[in-house]
């Protein structure tokens, strides 16, 4: 391959973040040809995101770090390029939707126009470009919705569209599918196929090399270096939850529950579901189908507009959230919504403290929760010093330490690498073995069918398998 057609050349790249001893990348070199699709695989912390940021020209101008080496994009060094030089040539899509939207636009359409405005595209051409990309990603129907009212997966597709509409010749993707349901992932994969066929160069980082679509070639990162093959990980031992006072789980009954948000969106429509004590149930469904709205009814974070929720056949109506918390433990989808203490250990012990558990029993719960999530070694750290996937485990540990009768997990596996998913599965199994009821929202069908007794499907606010049979 001639020198001329190599659009991305990374040469001897070493990057060290301030305050970190180990470099995030060490002497990484690779070349990606025009129109090639390169997969970048590796575990959490292997350096994938750092490589993605560097290729997109974010390091060191936006994200401070000490850099040695070069990132040449068609001959321009992204490490030293002035702002604007790379605009329209390289685009980056991140894994979490919350940090990718401007936050000031009132409709998805206007949000997508934001990048085009910065490129100086005439306003008469904008709608055409926006429509093409939103249709391809299956979000055309969301164009007039307010971005902040969308589900995480829907926002992620908007984020993807916001970069693709700008038409970059090099597209960098940092785990863009973490929040997507199977339909969303398929739409993104199809779009990437089209873009690659049209000559876009794609660098795509994922935990798992088979996560999304096709690659021409895969490189594997481990501890900041390119390695020939991914090392096999130490198997996570089966886990057991033995510290609780031995109380049983509780049954959950959802009776004809509907929920309408103040903005008029009807997120739940007459949902009924009974989950027995000690049962593990996964709720799957498309982004925006009402899964999170449903499980928030269980601990009173949201209340049914009509219908009712019963725990062990007692209605939760009128019982405040903090009282329900003694029975229902809820791990949020976004750890940022949940973490607020200055150390992992304090964070995990917040719940037991609030429930009035003190002394050796409380301490045993906290230690057990840390051990289950593999965070014993990080107990002294600030949760914000951990990456997002570990923060999610901190949030999960904080709920486990309350020893809930019913454990509710909202998308517990997003952003986790294979080991992390395995660990979450083992936690589900351990809690169920200890007699607890476990309810999880997930878009990972393989995870749902492997670790759960029953899988129910939500679609547009309805539970599919509870529809009356056709006459």
């Amino acid at each position: 391959m001639s020198e001329r057609t190599q659009v991305v050349r990374v040469q001897g790249l070493t990057i060290r973040y301030p305050g970190r001893r180990a470099p995030a990348l060490q002497d990484v070199s690779l070349t990606v040809a025009h129109g090639e699709r390169l997969g970048i695989a590796g575990r959490t912390g292997a350096g994938k995101s750092t490589l993605a940021l560097a290729v997109a020209g974010f390091i060191p101008r936006i994200v401070r770090a000490a850099v040695a080496g070069h990132v040449l994009l068609d001959g321009t060094d992204a490490i030293v390029a002035a702002p604007g030089v790379l605009l329209g040539r390289v685009g980056i899509v991140f894994s979490s939707p919350s940090n990718q939207l401007s936050g000031s636009r009132l409709t998805v359409r206007a949000e997508l126009a934001f990048g085009l405005e910065n490129l100086g595209i005439p306003s008469s051409e904008m709608d055409g470009r926006i429509d093409v990309v939103t249709e391809r990603l299956g979000i055309g129907h969301l164009a007039e919705r307010e971005p902040s009212s969308l589900s995480g997966g829907e926002q992620q597709r908007v984020a993807m569209a916001s970069i693709v509409t700008m038409g970059p010749g090099i597209l960098v993707l940092d785990e863009p599918a973490a929040e997507l349901d199977p339909n969303g992932a398929a739409a993104v994969a199809a779009l990437l196929d089209d873009l690659a066929a049209a000559g876009t160069t794609i660098l795509h980082a994922e935990h798992d090399p088979v996560a999304l679509g096709r690659y021409d070639r895969v490189v594997i990162l481990e501890a900041g270096r390119i390695v020939p093959a991914m090392s096999s990980s130490p198997a996570v031992e089966p886990l057991a939850w033995t510290v609780g006072p031995g109380r049983a789980g509780a049954s959950v009954t959802i009776e004809h529950v509907s929920h309408r948000y103040p903005n008029g969106i009807e997120a739940l429509r007459d949902v009924s579901l009974r989950i027995g004590t000690g049962e593990a149930v996964a709720i799957v469904g498309a982004n925006g189908s009402g899964k999170t709205t449903l499980v928030k009814q269980l601990n009173g974070l949201l209340r049914p507009t009509s219908g009712r929720v019963l725990l062990d056949d007692v209605s939760t109506d009128g019982t405040p959230v903090d009282r329900l918390a003694a029975t229902v433990g809820f791990a949020f989808q976004d750890p940022g919504d949940q973490l607020f203490e200055r150390s992992v250990e304090r964070e995990v012990s917040f719940g037991p403290r609030q429930l009035g558990r003190v002394g050796p029993q409380a301490s045993a719960l906290v230690q057990a929760a840390l051990a289950m999530t593999g965070l014993t070694g990080e107990r002294e750290l600030n949760p914000y010093d951990l990456d997002r996937s570990r923060r999610k485990l901190v949030a999960l540990a904080g709920v486990l330490a309350m020893d809930p009768a019913v454990l509710v997990l909202d998308e517990p596996t997003t952003g986790q690498d294979r080991d992390g998913v395995e660990r979450v599965g083992l936690i589900v199994r351990a809690m169920q073995t200890a007699g607890r009821t476990v309810i999880a929202i997930t878009h990972d069908i393989a995870f749902a069918s492997r670790w759960f007794d029953r899988v129910v499907v939500m679609d547009e606010g309805r539970l599919e398998d509870h529809r009356p049979p056709a006459a």
């Binding site: 605009l87 100086g120 009212s149 970069i163 903005n263 903090d322 919504d337 949940q338």
Partner: protein
Amino acid sequence: MTGIATDVATGYYVAGSSWLHRRHPLTKLLGVLFVVVAVFLLPPAVSLPLLAALLAGIAIAAGLARSLLRSLRIPSVLVLSIVVVNALFFPGGRDVLLGVGPLSITREGLTFGLVSASRLLVVFVASVLFLFTTLADDLLETLVARGVSHRIAFVVLTAVQLIPRMQHRATGILAAQQARGLSLGGSLGRRIRTLVPLVGPVLLASLVDVRERTLALEARGFGARPGRTAYRVVPDSGLDRALRMALVIAIVAVIVVAITGVVR
């Protein structure tokens, strides 16, 4: 996260289509500037009642009287303490109106306190009317279109959205704490003890937010090159241009009057 706080993009905006809503952001911004200049440079006995009446009239005409009254809770403690502290401890106070033990309320102190507090209130009301009727996004577009640097425009946008964002965060963290057994009921002291530990995490989360939004704007090329176009043009009318001209003249006039001391 369907349905949670759609308030960040809209900020303090109160949906409506009143005369004030339809004015160009720059016109309103100049209006606020005029109020600030007039309130501090003109004799308070004339300017304060006039401006207060003017703003009250605008608020009522725009259908914002109720929202405005509710917002006045925010500066109430500060305003009250300015009056009380000055009434009691004004250094130049001689004319004692009322003695309360070792403390005495002086006429000079009371006057100074009332004037300072009223000035603050008038400026607050003008700013709130601006925020109630102006979309943050319109403000951003206007500033950028007028050649204000992207950096400054981003800072202004962040400032306008800061409090709604922090409220959003605080609500989220509070819900998370309740979900882990935190009880919000009980005595005032208990409530305060509940809220104080929130300050740190909310500030931290806000800083993380700003950092993440910087990445988002960077990825979309905000400010990266000149020649930016606009998808939606913020409407600007002849009336707005005339008003802005009038406001600029008025601001200059107030400054001239203040410097030359024509009105005393």
